[in-house]
Subunit: 201 residues, 2 copies
Amino acid sequence: MNKGVLMVISGPSGAGKGTVVQELVRRSDDIFLSISATTRDPRPGEVPDRHYYFVSREKFRSMIENNELLEFAEYAGNFYGTPAAAVDRMLDDGKDVILEIDIQGGHQIRKTRDDVVLVFLAPPTIAELENRLRRRGTESEEAIRKRLAIAANEYRNIRDYDYVIINDTVENAVAKLQAVLTAERCSTKRIPVDKLYFPVK
Amino acid sequence: MNKGVLMVISGPSGAGKGTVVQELVRRSDDIFLSISATTRDPRPGEVPDRHYYFVSREKFRSMIENNELLEFAEYAGNFYGTPAAAVDRMLDDGKDVILEIDIQGGHQIRKTRDDVVLVFLAPPTIAELENRLRRRGTESEEAIRKRLAIAANEYRNIRDYDYVIINDTVENAVAKLQAVLTAERCSTKRIPVDKLYFPVK
């Protein structure tokens, strides 16, 4: 059995990552969403070990020191990271694993795993992204401007990613992500060296 | 509209390329099989301009000299090649174009088109390949041995290709080829430089 595919899905806030990833995972028994560890407190409705592994700062520090994290970052004073062990168990079991993290996290992972697949999930247009952010009604004008500028900059550096998928509809975006996973499993880069010999009896 | 994908499908005689490619093309209005030019005579049942463009040796030579071929080769005293103009018309029109040629042809094309996708269509096992060749009942023992040795060597150099697709069933192989075409259309390598800017109004 071949190893599964490790896929990072990044993209601007408002691109619809959450919905698309949920639907992708829901449709297949062979695709899993990785659970991040974090030092922040659970928010209402968040289930420990399902939405996040909630850990102490001491525990998180020891995970960093023992190389137990594929990547990690600090946001607003809290640490977030991807525990390697659970991910590797699933990949070795032939499952695909999705990480919903930012491109910096993706690049951290690529340093040690050159087969990680980096996907940028993009809104159809920047105007549509702006609409979605405004419809939420939770952010200031300044925060929205900042998010749009970040999105534009990410798009200018699109070659940092392997694939760009336009989230015009959830249906289309999920189908394209499934196609990328299927194609990556056929990539000759993924064939273990010991399987390169095709014996003639 | 994005340009289509240029895909070369190679693989051992007996891997089932013909059937798989026919089915792939039959299922989509956006996928076309390229028609080769050849200097050999038509065989019974072959329709000019559908199975091949049958041309004189003089015409073929002028096509080579005028860089009108994406690739060409000589087999058993006859020339075979892929006329570029028809392929480019389809790609520019957003269609995917499939070439059923050998890996040497694929490498010739890659020299001028680095976005060509090289696929190896493999039989499930070498034993199955042997069975298929024997079932044909058209080749000598020596010819079969030679074909198996060539196949084993191709497989040892599998990293010359971008993808390897096991033809266990036509259904599976076609689905995987479709996934590769969909994924390649999402590859950031294919985004024209002038589309890298995602404007903020």
